[in-house]
C-alpha cells in the first residue's frame, strides 16, 4: 500500500491508511476519495529553489534533461541541488530517482520539495546506494502548499564504512510524510538521521524512519525536533532495529517537541527493536511547552514577549540546524527556520 502505487494505477484502494500500523497517524485512504487527474507536462522555466540554481529539476514528476540517475563515480566529490516541483493545481504525480555513490565518493545532496500550485498530490521515491567508505550528506527542505498531500520516501543502502548524514526540515502540508529507510551494515558505517518539523495553521507533517542494523559495530544517531502551533499536527515515528548478531551497535534516538497551542498535537512513537545482546541503545522523547520561567527572565531583560518566545523556539530548533555539516546548507536551513518562526 503506497501512494506511488495508487497514483500509478489510479486505484485509491492502494492508498495506505489507518489499518496500516505505520500509517495510522497519516491516514491517506480516509482522506483521498478520488485521486486528482495526472499532472500535465510543464515545459516553462521555474525560478531558483531555496538552494539556488539546481543541477537536477523534476517538475510534475518528470526529470528535466537526459539524465536517468544521479551517479557519483568512485572517489569523486559532488554537490547536487535536486528539486521536486509541483506546478499544477489539483493534479497528481509520482517521481523516482536512483542515486548511486561509488566507493569513497562524496555527495552533498541539497533536496527541495516545492509547491508552485495548490491541492496537488505528489509522491517521490529515492533509491540511494552509498558505496563502501562513501559519504552522503542529504538536506531536505520542504515548501509545500497547505492543501497538498505529499509523500517522500528514501530507501538507503550503505556499504561498509559508509556515512549517511541527513537533515529533513518539514514545513507540512494537508498531509506530508517524509520517510527514510536505511539498511545499515555496521562495520564502521555511520548514520546521522536528523529532522525538524515546524507547523502552523492546520498543517500536518510526519517524519518516519526505520534503520535496520544488520552487522557488527554500526552507529546511528538521530535527533528530531518539532514545533507545532494553531491546529497543526506533528508525527514522529522512529524505529531502530538491531538484528541478531549486530553486536556493538550504538544507537541513539531523541525526539523533542514544543506544543505552542492547546489545539496542536504531536504523536510520537520512538521504538528500539533489539535482537542482539551486546548493544548500547537509548532513546529520549519529550513533549512540552516553552519554559515560562525562562520567558520571564528574557522579558525582564527588555525583550518583548513575541521576540522572547521566538528566541527560545529558534534556539530549540537550532540544535538540529547546527548539526548540518555543509555550510551553505546550514545557512539555508537557518533561514528556512527563521522564516517559519518569525511570522
Amino acid at each position: 500500500m503506497t501512494l506511488s502505487a495508487a497514483i500509478r494505477t489510479g486505484d485509491v484502494a492502494q492508498l495506505p491508511g489507518k489499518r496500516d500500523e505505520d500509517w495510522r497517524w497519516t491516514d491517506l485512504r480516509g482522506l483521498i476519495r478520488v485521486l486528482p487527474p495526472p499532472s500535465p507536462e510543464v515545459s516553462g522555466e521555474v525560478d531558483d529553489g531555496p538552494f539556488g540554481p539546481a543541477e537536477l529539476t523534476i517538475v510534475n514528476g518528470r526529470l528535466r534533461g537526459d539524465t536517468a540517475a544521479l551517479v557519483v563515480p568512485a572517489g569523486e566529490t559532488r554537490t547536487v541541488r535536486l528539486r521536486f516541483v509541483s506546478a499544477s493545481e489539483a493534479t497528481s504525480h509520482g517521481a523516482h530517482l536512483a542515486v548511486e555513490l561509488g566507493e569513497g565518493a562524496r555527495l552533498t545532496l541539497l533536496e527541495s520539495h516545492e509547491g508552485r500550485a495548490a491541492d496537488y498530490v505528489a509522491d517521490a521515491v529515492l533509491t540511494i546506494g552509498v558505496g563502501k567508505d562513501a559519504a552522503l550528506e542529504r538536506i531536505v527542505l520542504t515548501n509545500d502548499d497547505p492543501g497538498a498531500v505529499t509523500v517522500s520516501t528514501a530507501i538507503v543502502t550503505l556499504g561498509y564504512g559508509a556515512r549517511l548524514s541527513q537533515t529533513v526540515l518539514a514545513g507540512g502540508a494537508k498531509r506530508q510524510r517524509i520517510e527514510t529507510r536505511v539498511e545499515h551494515p555496521g562495520h564502521g558505517a555511520q548514520v546521522r538521521l536528523d529532522g525538524a518539523y515546524l507547523l502552523a495553521a492546520q498543517r500536518h507533517a510526519d517524519l518516519t524512519s526505520v534503520v535496520t542494523h544488520d552487522g557488527v559495530g554500526g552507529v546511528t544517531d538521530q535527533l528530531a525536533k518539532g514545533v507545532v502551533r494553531d491546529q497543526a499536527r506533528g508525527v514522529f515515528q522512529g524505529r531502530i532495529v538491531v538484528a541478531e548478531g549486530a553486536d556493538k551497535t550504538d544507537g541513539r534516538m531523541g525526539h523533542h517537541a514544543l506544543i505552542l497551542s492547546d489545539r496542536a498535537e504531536v504523536d510520537a512513537k520512538p521504538e528500539l527493536e533489539i535482537y542482539a545482546d551486546d548493544v548500547a541503545c537509548a532513546h529520549g522523547n519529550t513533549v512540552g511547552a516553552l519554559d515560562e520561567d525562562a520567558l520571564f527572565y528574557i522579558r525582564q531583560r527588555g525583550v518583548p514577549e513575541p521576540e522572547a518566545r521566538a528566541l527560545l523556539t529558534e534556539a530549540f530548533v537550532g540544535e538540529v540546524v547546527e548539526r548540518i555539516e555543509h555550510e551553505g546548507a546550514r545557512e539555508a536551513a537557518a533561514a528556512w527556520v527563521a522564516a517559519r518562526l518569525g511570522g
Partner: protein
C-alpha cells in the same frame, strides 16, 4: 525614584505582602532584610511584573509613572533590572547573543540606534575583564552548566552592560565564596551614582559589609516593620529577626 505605597499582593488568594510602603530616592541604596517567608522575593517579582502575583491594593510608581501597568519588558526598558536569586539557564542561546538582543530591544523601544556588533564586543570584553569573567564563557549558552557563582557574576555582567537606573539584587550573595562576593560587590559599587538607585534584598548582613546601604528596612510578614541605618543590619545579625516577627504577628 521608586515609590511603593500600601502594596498588597497575593499568590493564589494567599496574602504575601500586606501594606508595604517604601520610598527609594535617586542615588540611594536601600537594603531589605527579613526572615524566610517574609515576602522578599515576592517584592522583587511583583516589581518586575512576573505573572502569578496579584496586586490587590496599593501603588508602585517609578518617577511618577505607574509601574504596575507596564509589561515586564517595558519596565526593563524604563531602567529596572532584577539580579535573580536563581538565574535561569537559556539553552541554545549564547550569552553574547542573548545580551545583544536584550540591549537592542531596549534601545529600539527607547527610540535609540541599535548597537553594532563591533562596538558591542568591545564593550563586552572590557566589562567582562572588570568582573574577571572569561570572555569565552560569553560564547556559551547563557548559564547552561555555569556554577552558582558564575551565574551570579553573569547577572552583574548583564547589569553592567545594560546600565539600568533601578537595580534589584535578590539574594545576590547566596552561592558566592568570599572572593566572588568581593568581585560582585566591586561590580555593584562601581555602578553607584547619583542617578541610580538600588534595592538590595538579603537574608544575611554579610553582603552589606561590601555594599554599604544608606538605609536598612526590615520586612516581616509582608510589611516594613523597622527602618534604620546600616547599624540596623548589625543588630539583626546579632539578635536575629525574632523580635520583629513577634511585632509583625
Amino acid at each position: 525614584m521608586l515609590s511603593i505605597n500600601n502594596l498588597h499582593v497575593s499568590i493564589e488568594d494567599k496574602p504575601i505582602l500586606r501594606g508595604l510602603s517604601l520610598e527609594l530616592p535617586a542615588g540611594e541604596v536601600h537594603a531589605i532584610m527579613g526572615p524566610n517567608g517574609a515576602g522578599k522575593s515576592t517584592l522583587s517579582y511583583v516589581l518586575t511584573g512576573r505573572e502569578g502575583y496579584e496586586v490587590t491594593d496599593g501603588t508602585v510608581t517609578l518617577d511618577g509613572e505607574d509601574l504596575l501597568a507596564l509589561e515586564p519588558n517595558e519596565r526593563a526598558t524604563k531602567g529596572l533590572f532584577l539580579s535573580f536569586q536563581y538565574p535561569l539557564e537559556i539553552p541554545g542561546v549564547p550569552a553574547m547573543h542573548f545580551l545583544r538582543t536584550a540591549m537592542n530591544a531596549q534601545r529600539k523601544a527607547r527610540g535609540e540606534p541599535e548597537v553594532g556588533a563591533g562596538e558591542f564586543i568591545k564593550l563586552a570584553r572590557e566589562t567582562a575583564a572588570a568582573l574577571k569573567i572569561d570572555f569565552d564563557m560569553l560564547k556559551r549558552a547563557l548559564n547552561v552548566g555555569f556554577s552558582g557563582g558564575e551565574k551570579k557574576r553573569m547577572e552583574i555582567f548583564q547589569m553592567a552592560m545594560l546600565q539600568p537606573r533601578l537595580l534589584i539584587l535578590d539574594e545576590t550573595d547566596s552561592g558566592l565564596d568570599i572572593d566572588a562576593l568581593r568581585i560582585v560587590a566591586d561590580g555593584v559599587n562601581a555602578m553607584r551614582s547619583p542617578e541610580r538607585s538600588m534595592l538590595v534584598i538579603t537574608h544575611y548582613q554579610r553582603l552589606l559589609d561590601y555594599i554599604r546601604p544608606d538605609k536598612v528596612h526590615v520586612l516581616s510578614a509582608g510589611r516594613i516593620v523597622a527602618t534604620g541605618g546600616p547599624e540596623l543590619a548589625l543588630e539583626l545579625e546579632r539578635e536575629g529577626y525574632e523580635k520583629y516577627e513577634r511585632a509583625a504577628a
